[in-house]
Each structure stands twice: as structure tokens, then as C-alpha cells.
């Protein structure tokens, strides 16, 4: 088959058994791969309320049809599992070399289940697959682990590993890939640690077949150039995601003072590009086959306490470790980001935890006897930098946060839950749904919790993403007005869901200028299936709804399609002063568009249409 091996590798850590199974062509055509197929596997193989740390939970590493080829933005892979943070479906994605290496090793999907009796590393070297004792790297931070495994196994291996946070089963632990990219959200690093799986190291050199090679290669070259030219012209390559900071603050999108503040222009200017590009000496650091290079490589030497050379912060981290904490020094955020990377922590959730502590201290709920001497005053850099190791190692106050911000709040004070900014227990990313109201249905129905990037609709509202072939056109939404917002939310969820199934970096379409027609052309040239655009969009919708079905059986229905209470209060000043999103209208429009009942359940007709 073109674009695929039709091969699922299953590793049972209980028994040590490693086996392969065929993947049905029908499943690949319906779910494509990546998070789409990963979610469907979870739906079929697991029951409701699966223990995230139990042996039944599956930890899935999934590729799609793009990973065998130089598709621009195709150097990615998806992970899926039941999350220890939310207790339901989660997927997360990362770049670097791992997805391509896994695909070229001869595997489409890797499913890990069971729990190893002692820590192990899974080593995949093309067709040779073994489980090895991880004693030589267990206990090391994620960067050290990457280095040790690379040195031990030799050139050509890509490494996905966990740090102390994952080993300690901290529910916001991430998976670190080649010290370059991070499968961050929902704590899948903790699932990995709970299985005693320290790392997966993979080398692949096999050629994946494709249907129409000459046509495909011409399209790869064409869109590599278009995306490279577009992102040079629009500044995305030069400044990366930090270029968003000032715009987001001006439009009321950036989180300020843990979602209690309204404006902060001078802080956003200091944190964002072009200032942070200059201060951190940031330059593009592309993933494999990427013409954009949105990741930043930075070099900070002074002051010594903030010295970092390596991966720099993204906009999200400037939001949750910067503006949400009223920290306006990009070097502090860069140091916090680096610490989180080494410890193997999701920088968004880790920053959110510190923001929660700052507000809790302000309200008198977090007192010095509870904080190990940490002062959670707004803007205090040490509050961030000293808290991160405590979280990762579950020491002192860090232990309170081992299962996430929401559970910490419930333990801390009877009223503290009311200030947690979350959906389904996942801390909000750095986009405020009070401004970009298409994020209201996006967040509350988000299958992994509050996530802008399982949708990306805020970039439609803020002027950066349109595609007439998808029915998303410039000017179709206006800030604070409900018309078309739910359509944009649903359409973006389907399109980004498709991207996560193909495993294509969404920045190719959102910022990169890759048109839907181009994505469709590359897909058909690789697979030879000659899908229509509608076929692919429906595949994205199918993936999303399958994930929603997992949410529903895990108890996440309409009554939990809610925004956090603090985001239902109008702002006092700034762009969104006095505005509250029209929740009822947005959600009812959204359910109707989706073909779901008033209770947010896909109807029988909708399920039949999608073949679920």
C-alpha cells in the first residue's frame, strides 16, 4: 500500500512480548493515521474510565501517510492515550526526527500497553526491536537521557524520552523528542513513566512506497518553496510564534495575571518579538522537512543564572510563564522554559500552576507555611524557577500539584477551584475566549480539554488563517459577534483534526500558506486514493467525533462543556472591556452545526453519516 506499511507494532510491557498486526485498509481510509487512528484504537480497545496508570491504558505513537517523504511540515508524529490529567482521551504531537524515523523503520503505529516490572527502553532499529534495561538512563533529566541514548546507540537514532516529571508520574509530564520538540500537553509523559518506559529510540532507513512519485515530488518542491517564501514575507520564520505576543495583548487574547488582568502592553512588548528575538539571539530551528523553522534556537549567557543555549520559548510559554505571572523578562521565561524541557514538564500547565499559586497567595489561601519559603508575588522570577523542580520531583508544595492544578485547588481551599482556568482539567493555553469567541465552543468541546490548537480558530479571528476551499474567508467573523463563529470553530476543529491524522504541522496551513488543495494533492499523489476534499474533511470530523464519544463515555458531556467561572466575568478595560461571550448561543449553534443533540451527543444520523 502506498504511504503506509499497514503495520501496527504492539509492545506488551507485562510480558515483554513484541508483535505486529495488520492495519485494515478501510481503517486507514477512514481515520488516515496519527491522532485520528490513535483515538479510534483507544475507543475500540478500552472501556470507560480506564486507569491512566493501569496496564490497560495504551500509549500510542502514531504516524500518518506523510512521514515517509519530504512533505513540508511532515516531520511530526502524534501520541495518544488516556490522560492522567483529564481522565479521558488525549493526543499530543511533536516534531524533530522521530515520526520520520518510526515510519522508515517499517511501523505505522506503535502501541505500548502493560507496565514493565522495572524501567526499560524500547529500541527499534528498522526490523530489530528489543526492550532493554533502562538503569543506565533512568533518573536522568530528559536532555541527559537524549544524549546518553544517542551516544549509546550511535548515529541515526531519534529519541523520545521522559524526565523526572514523567518518572515521578506528575500529571503534566511531557515527552521530550531529540531535545528539540516536545509532546507537551495532557501528561502523556506520566503515562510513559507509569509504564516504566523511559524512552523509545528508533532508527529507520526503509523507503516507503508512494503511488505517483514524480507528481508527489513536484508538489513537495512546489509547496516547500511557497511556504518558505510566505513565512519569510510574513515574518513567521524570522520571529516564530513570539511574534504573536503584542498582537495577542492588543486584542485581549493574551493571558494576563492568571486571567484576571486585562491589559499589559509594555510587558507584551518586552516579551514578544522583535525584542525577544534580539535579547535571546533567537534564530530558526526547523524540524525535519520544515521550510518554516518556527522553533527557536537561543543563546543567553548573561546573567549566569538565566544562561540557556538550546530550545527557546514559544508564544504559549511567553503567555503562561510570562504574562500570566506578570514576568516581563524574556530571559526569565527562556530559563523557565529550559528547566521545564529538561525536567519534562508541559510549560503551559507548569506556568499555569505558578499563576494559580500567585493568585492563591494574593487571596490569602496559600500561606508561607505551605510554600517552602517561596514567595508567589506577581512578577517574582524565583517563584517560577524554584517551583518547577518542586513540581517535577513532587517535593514540598510540588507534591500538592502532582495530579494537576484542579486537584491542587480542591485540596488547598474550599473556594480555590473557582479560580482555576481549565476545561476538563487541562489548563487553558494562552488564548482568551473572551476575545476570540470562536474559542468558546473550541475549548469546551475540546476532546483533550481546553486547546486552541485542536482548532486554531483564534487565528481566523485575528486575521492570520483563511482558506476559501474550506469556507473560511476573510471578514466572515467580527470580534464579539456570534455570527459564523461556531461554524469557524467546527470547521477548524475538523481541519486541524485532519492535520493531526495526516500528522502535518498545522503551521504549514496556518501561517505557512499551504492551501487545502495542496494538502489534498500531496495526499492523493502519495496514496493514489484520489480522495475529494470533502472525503478528507469528513475524515477529520470522524476523528474528532470518535474522540468525543470517548469523552462522553468517560463522563464529559454537555454539563461539563463549560468555561471556567473567571472567564465569564467581563473585563474592566482594554479591547474586551465589558464583553462576555454569548455562551448559550455559541454552543447551541455549534451543536446544531455538528448534528449533535441539545445535550451535545452526536445523533444517530450523524454517527451513521460518519460510519461510527
Amino acid at each position: 500500500m502506498n504511504g503506509y506499511w499497514q503495520k501496527l507494532m504492539r509492545v506488551d510491557l507485562n510480558s515483554g512480548n513484541i508483535s505486529t498486526e495488520p492495519i485494515a485498509e478501510a481503517d486507514l481510509k477512514r481515520f488516515i493515521g496519527g491522532a485520528g487512528l490513535g483515538g479510534e484504537l483507544l475507543r475500540r480497545e478500552l472501556g470507560p474510565h480506564t486507569d491512566p496508570y493501569g496496564p490497560d491504558n495504551r500509549l500510542i505513537f502514531a504516524t500518518g501517510p506523510f512521514q515517509g517523504f519530504p512533505v513540508p511540515g511532515g516531520g511530526k508524529f502524534s501520541m495518544a492515550a488516556i490522560s492522567p490529567l483529564t481522565g479521558t482521551f488525549a493526543d499530543t504531537a511533536a516534531g524533530a526526527d522521530f515520526g520520520v524515523a518510526l515510519k522508515k523503520s517499517g511501523v505505522d503505529i506503535l502501541v505500548v500497553q502493560g507496565v514493565a516490572a522495572k524501567p526499560v527502553v524500547l529500541k527499534i532499529d528498522n526490523n530489530t526491536v528489543i526492550l532493554e534495561d533502562a538503569a543506565f538512563c533512568w533518573g536522568k533529566n530528559a536532555y541527559e537521557s537524549c544524549d546518553i541514548l544517542s551516544a549509546t546507540y550511535g548515529p541515526g537514532f531519534s529519541v523520545s524520552t521522559i524526565g523526572p516529571a514523567g518518572e515521578n508520574r506528575v500529571a503534566i509530564a511531557c515527552v521530550v523528542v531529540d531535545k528539540h520538540s516536545f509532546a507537551g500537553r495532557c501528561g502523556l509523559g506520566a503515562v510513559m513513566g507509569g509504564k516504566n518506559l523511559k524512552a523509545v529510540a528508533v532508527r529507520g532507513t526503509q523507503s516507503v512506497p508512494m503511488a505517483r512519485p514524480e507528481e508527489a515530488k513536484a508538489l513537495f518542491r512546489k509547496y516547500q518553496k511557497i511556504i518558505a517564501d510566505t513565512t519569510r514575507e510574513n515574518g513567521f520564520r524570522e520571529h516564530g510564534t513570539p511574534g504573536l505576543c503584542e498582537s495577542a495583548e492588543a486584542l485581549g487574547d493574551m493571558p494576563i495575571k492568571y486571567w484576571t488582568g486585562d491589559t499589559w502592553p509594555e510587558g507584551a512588548k518586552r516579551l514578544g518579538a522583535p525584542n525577544s528575538t534580539k535579547v535571546l539571539k533567537a534564530r530558526p530551528a526547523p524540524c525535519k522537512f520544515c521550510p518554516v523553522g518556527c522553533h527557536r534556537h537561543i543563546e543567553v549567557t548573561e546573567p549566569a543564572e538565566y544562561a540557556v543555549t538550546g530550545a527557546g520559548p514559544e508564544y504559549e510559554t511567553y503567555g503562561l510563564m510570562g504574562s500570566a505571572l506578570l514576568i516581563d523578562d524574556p530571559k526569565v521565561v527562556a530559563k523557565g522554559n529550559d528547566l521545564a524541557n529538561r525536567l519534562g514538564l508541559d510549560s503551559i500547565s507548569a506556568g499555569a500552576m505558578v499563576g494559580f499559586c500567585m493568585e492563591a497567595q494574593e487571596k490569602g489561601w496559600l500561606t508561607p507555611d505551605k510554600t517552602n519559603g517561596l514567595d508567589f508575588s506577581w512578577g517574582n522570577p524565583r517563584a517560577l524557577l524554584d517551583m518547577l523542580p518542586l513540581i517535577a520531583n513532587r517535593k514540598g508544595i510540588g507534591e500538592l500539584f502532582a495530579n494537576g492544578t484542579l486537584e491542587a485547588a480542591r485540596k488547598l481551599h474550599p473556594n480555590a477551584e473557582s479560580i482555576v482556568a481549565h476545561v476538563k482539567g487541562l489548563d487553558l493555553p494562552a488564548h482568551d475566549p473572551r476575545s476570540c469567541i470562536s474559542l468558546v465552543p473550541t475549548y469546551v468541546t475540546g476532546t483533550r480539554g481546553a486547546c486552541h490548537f485542536r482548532g486554531g480558530s483564534e487565528d481566523v479571528e485575528m486575521g492570520g488563517f483563511f482558506d476559501p476551499d474550506l469556507g473560511i474567508t476573510e471578514g466572515m467573523t467580527k470580534f464579539f459577534e456570534p455570527e459564523n463563529q461556531s461554524f469557524v470553530a467546527a470547521r477548524c476543529q475538523d481541519y486541524f483534526g485532519l492535520c493531526n491524522s495526516l500528522v502535518l504541522c498545522a503551521f504549514m496551513i496556518d501561517g505557512g500558506g499551504l492551501p487545502f488543495a495542496g494538502l489534498l494533492g500531496m495526499f492523493n499523489a502519495i496514496t493514489g486514493w484520489d480522495f475529494t476534499g470533502e472525503d478528507l474533511i469528513v475524515a477529520g470530523e470522524r476523528a474528532f467525533v470518535a474522540q468525543r464519544l470517548i469523552n462522553l463515555r468517560d463522563g464529559y458531556g454537555h454539563d461539563r462543556d463549560l468555561l471556567p467561572a473567571k472567564l465569564l466575568k467581563p473585563s474592566k478595560e482594554g479591547f474586551r472591556a465589558g464583553k462576555i461571550p454569548p455562551m448559550d448561543r455559541l454552543l447551541s449553534d455549534y451543536y446544531a452545526l455538528r448534528g449533535w443533540s441539545e445535550k451535545g451527543v452526536p445523533t444517530a444520523e450523524t454517527l451513521q453519516r460518519l460510519g461510527l
Binding site: L244, C245, A250
Partner: protein, 85 residues
């Protein structure tokens, strides 16, 4: 040269990468523009490509491309949002 008798003075804030186009602004961040100037025409004067002028604020509210600028208006030009991830 702008005819002062038919000009309006607007305050312009250029965000993020747009700041590279600020050379035409006076030290107070203002620009004299002909009466009847729209935001797109303002962008032309600043050297910003029209295709990047999608979201902008006039006096704190989202503006339309056909809006005429008046004396004393504050305009915030926002680069199209990319990279929300």
C-alpha cells in the same frame, strides 16, 4: 508633501514586526495624512503591504477597511496572527 490645511493627524501604533515601518512617524508616533485617508492608504504610506492589513483597531475598536480616518484618531495596526501554537 501633505497639504496641512486638508490633513488629519493620526496616532499610529505598530505592533510586533510592523514596528520596522515606523520611520515615517513623528517622535510622538503620529502621522499627517490627507483628509479622507483610509487605513489601507495609511498602510501604503507606511510601506506595509495591504494584504497584511486585516485586523486593526481605530480608537480601540475593530475597524473596517473602508473607514475614513479623522483628526486625532488612534490606529493600531496588528500583523496577521500566525503561530498561535
Amino acid at each position: 508633501m501633505t497639504n496641512l490645511s486638508s490633513a488629519v493627524r493620526v496616532h499610529v501604533t505598530l505592533l510586533s514586526r510592523f514596528v520596522a515601518h515606523s520611520s515615517a512617524l513623528d517622535p510622538e508616533g503620529c502621522l499627517l495624512v490627507p483628509h479622507g485617508t483610509t487605513v489601507l492608504e495609511l498602510a501604503d504610506l507606511l510601506g506595509i503591504l495591504r494584504k497584511f492589513v486585516i485586523i486593526f483597531l481605530i480608537n480601540g475598536r475593530q475597524g473596517c477597511k473602508s473607514d475614513i480616518l479623522h483628526n486625532g484618531d488612534t490606529v493600531v495596526l496588528v500583523p496577521p496572527a500566525v503561530g498561535g501554537g
